[in-house]
């Protein structure tokens, strides 16, 4: 019963290695199947995302198990082992658990706190369940990891504020306007980031969408995509009177919107607030217009600034998350230790029961014809004696949390149980497989 984690992530492996090492689509099931049938690997789960590839396994022996998994990854993807090994990390025991919990809680993510990883982990777990490649150990580990991740999310503010430019823009819009669905939005120009921000705004309720571009055709195409209206570039100033949110991203070398324009527009708007986002470099909106009342202008640097403070905030919150993970690892270790004792307890119980039955039969045979009532009384007597006697070693085994192995060893020797230290680690895994089938 040894949990190991073998994998690589955005920190340890460059993108080309991550691409090669990924288990996509049908490859994933094939890989799980191969691992499932490998000797010494009792359980396995494969997590493969664009930022990380990790194999969680329950192996009979840590050293040989790790080597086998490493070799498997290299062979499967035809990556030379010496290249792969530079990127791989191997964790076992407590470190492996900590790692899995940190990954699930998004503490190990490139963008700390990003929520996708938990879903990806759940998917990986689902596939393992479906393919029956995971057993009692890994199942418990995954369930625990999911609950730890939820705890981290609710007890810290790790996922609270936006850490991408486009989300930061939406977050700001929501702090300026109460209800985005009643607001009109115009996209001036085009560009990946601007279009992404526009999509986020639309996803957050903005319905009234205008698009303008020096090339009208381009505006029309984008307008179709956003379910909006195209506006002639020459008329965009007039359109601003009725728009509340502006994203500007043109290739113009100069300001296309200056203080005078905005003064006039604001007068016509009766000072209804306006939120302008200038993603263009060089800037297209005169930064001075931020001084006008009820006008809020953010350029790309401002948004980067917002994102950076939010990331700092998240990193602070991540420290709290680490503490939660440490706590949960401790409770998991305790559970695992108690699991160590289970085979010994079962063996003890079986042995006691066997002795009881044997002696009972002997006695009953010797005594000859007894009434049904007497037989029952004797049976009850033997039962209660046995139960009371084995209660003490059982309780001791269950309660021992740190020195379980020692305790198991002692009890096994005293009662001459055949679940020695040698087999001990085999049992729970097998039992797990039984449970599952």
């Amino acid at each position: 019963m040894n949990i190991i984690v073998i994998g690589l992530n955005h920190d340890t492996a460059p993108i080309d290695i991550r691409e090669k090492a990924a288990f996509n689509g049908p490859k994933l099931e094939e890989a799980i199947d191969i691992l499932k049938n490998s000797p010494g690997i009792k359980e396995n789960i494969i997590l493969s995302t664009c930022n990380r590839v990790e194999i969680y396994a329950n192996v009979t022996d840590i050293a040989s198990g790790s080597e086998r998994v490493k070799k498997f990854i290299a062979d499967f993807h035809r990556i030379p082992e010496e290249v792969l090994n530079k990127s791989l990390y191997v964790h076992s025991g407590k470190n492996a658990m900590t790692h899995v919990f940190r990954v699930a809680s998004s503490l190990d993510s490139m963008v700390v706190g990003e929520p996708q990883i938990l879903g990806q982990l759940k998917d990986a777990f689902d596939i393992a369940l479906k393919m029956k490649s995971s057993g009692v150990m890994l199942n418990k580990l995954m369930k625990k990891a999911i609950s730890v991740a939820k705890r981290v999310r609710t007890e810290t503010k790790i996922g609270e504020s936006a850490v991408s430019i486009s989300f930061a823009a939406v977050e700001l819009a929501k702090k300026i306007f109460e209800d985005l669905s009643t607001k009109a939005f115009i996209l001036i120009g085009a560009g990946e980031m601007a279009e992404l921000a526009a999509k986020h705004l639309i996803n957050n309720g903005v319905k009234d969408v205008l698009v303008t571009n020096r090339t009208f055709e381009r505006a029309e195409n984008l307008a179709r995509e956003f379910n909006g209206k195209a506006v002639e570039f020459d008329n965009f100033l007039q359109a601003l009177v009725h728009t509340d949110i502006v994203i500007c991203s043109t290739g113009a070398p100069n300001y296309i919107l200056v203080k005078d324009h905005v003064h006039k527009i604001m007068k016509q708007r009766k000072n209804k607030p306006m939120f302008l986002i200038d993603i263009s470099v060089p800037r297209n909106i005169d930064p001075e217009i931020n001084d006008i009342d009820n006008v809020y202008l953010y350029d790309i640097d401002n948004l980067h600034g917002v994102v950076n403070t939010n990331i700092e905030e998240r990193n602070k919150e991540a420290e709290k998350g680490e503490k939660i993970v440490d706590e949960e690892v401790e409770t998991f270790l305790k559970w695992q230790a108690s699991l160590n004792a289970v085979p010994a307890i079962v063996a003890l119980r079986d042995k006691a029961e066997a002795i009881r039955k044997e002696e009972l039969e002997n006695t009953l045979r010797k005594l000859g014809n007894l009434g049904e009532k007497d037989v029952k009384a004797i049976e009850a007597l033997t039962n209660s004696i046995v139960n009371k006697l084995i209660h003490f070693p059982t309780a001791a085994l269950k309660s021992a949390s740190e020195d379980t192995e020692v305790m198991v060893d002692i009890v096994s020797r005293i009662f001459d149980l055949n679940t020695g230290t040698k087999n001990k680690s085999e049992d729970p895994g097998d039992r797990g497989n039984d449970e599952k089938q």
Partner: protein
């Protein structure tokens, strides 16, 4: 005889609860833990019940509406604010509102506690008129709406500062959106203004029945008129040229300072016909 009068006990208890609510509210501004607003609400509700009991007991003992001196006036003023606060919380559930409103309530209650508390057995004959109740209740409800508007105005200015300066930490996440603060501020002034207008009109009618003249340029009348003009201006400018946001918030705070001066300043600094209030 009890060593402490029931109504005094109610008053002190309400004051204590408002005090605790204020402390929690202010701590809630700086500590980013869980929402403290529920505990503020619970304290405000219990405080409000005790406060109501205090006013009811005074009403029964005195036989007239207990707004006849500064102790009662300030107490009733804060009672009206708590009423509006609870209604607003029920309707809009504005995060952090308590942190900005409960301090106003507390300051009014503390000043109320410093004025003589006697229940006047013989009422000034002028006050023995049903206009008295209508006029004062309208005035205080209007003032309470202005107090709320000022509290919301402060919240607006803080949030506006964050958005303008682009430093989005601290309270930024917790405060509501600028638009909702601006709209609630506007609604409160639109509520307070007609109340104040009616208070002035009833006051004028009452003055005529009591003294035979409608308007005597008494300091309270003058300052009420100035306050009325300020709020008229706030509403007028918003509707015509769209003075909203920062300017509206700023004006609503200035308006409330005038309200406070009209209430305390005129009574304490300038003597006039309203001196009994």
């Amino acid at each position: 005889m009890l060593p402490i009068k029931t109504e005094t006990l109610f008053f002190e208890l309400a004051l204590t609860l408002y005090f605790i609510a204020t402390i929690i509210g202010v701590i809630g501004l700086f500590k980013g833990k869980k929402d403290t607003f529920k505990s503020i609400l619970v304290l405000a509700i219990i405080g409000f019940i005790l406060h109501t009991a205090n006013i009811a007991v005074r009403y029964i003992e005195g036989g007239h509406i207990p707004i006849t001196n500064l102790h009662e006036g300030a107490s009733f003023f804060s009672w009206c604010i708590v009423v509006l606060f609870l209604l607003l919380e029920y309707r809009y559930k504005i995060r952090l509102l308590g942190s900005f409103i409960m301090p106003i309530v507390l300051v009014l209650m503390l000043s109320s506690s410093m004025f003589p508390r006697g229940i006047s057995p013989s009422l000034n004959p002028v006050l023995k008129s049903y206009w008295f109740g209508i006029h004062t209740i309208l005035a205080f409800l209007g003032d309470a709406a202005f107090a709320m508007a000022a509290g919301i105005g402060v919240m607006y200015l803080i949030q506006e500062r964050y958005v303008k300066s682009k430093r989005l930490s601290g309270l930024f996440q917790k405060l509501p959106s600028l638009q909702s603060l601006d709209e609630i501020n506007y609604r409160l002034i639109s509520l307070g203004f007609p109340l104040l207008t009616l208070a002035i009109i009833t006051g004028v009618i009452w003055a005529n029945t009591a003294w035979g003249t409608y308007w005597r340029w008494d300091p309270k009348e003058v300052w009420s008129l100035i306050t009325w003009l300020i709020y008229a201006l706030v509403l007028h400018l918003r509707l015509t040229v769209g003075w909203r946001g920062k300017k509206a918030a700023g004006l609503s705070i200035i308006g409330f300072i005038l309200v406070i001066f009209t209430f305390f300043g005129v009574n304490l600094l300038l003597k006039g016909l309203h001196a009994f209030v």
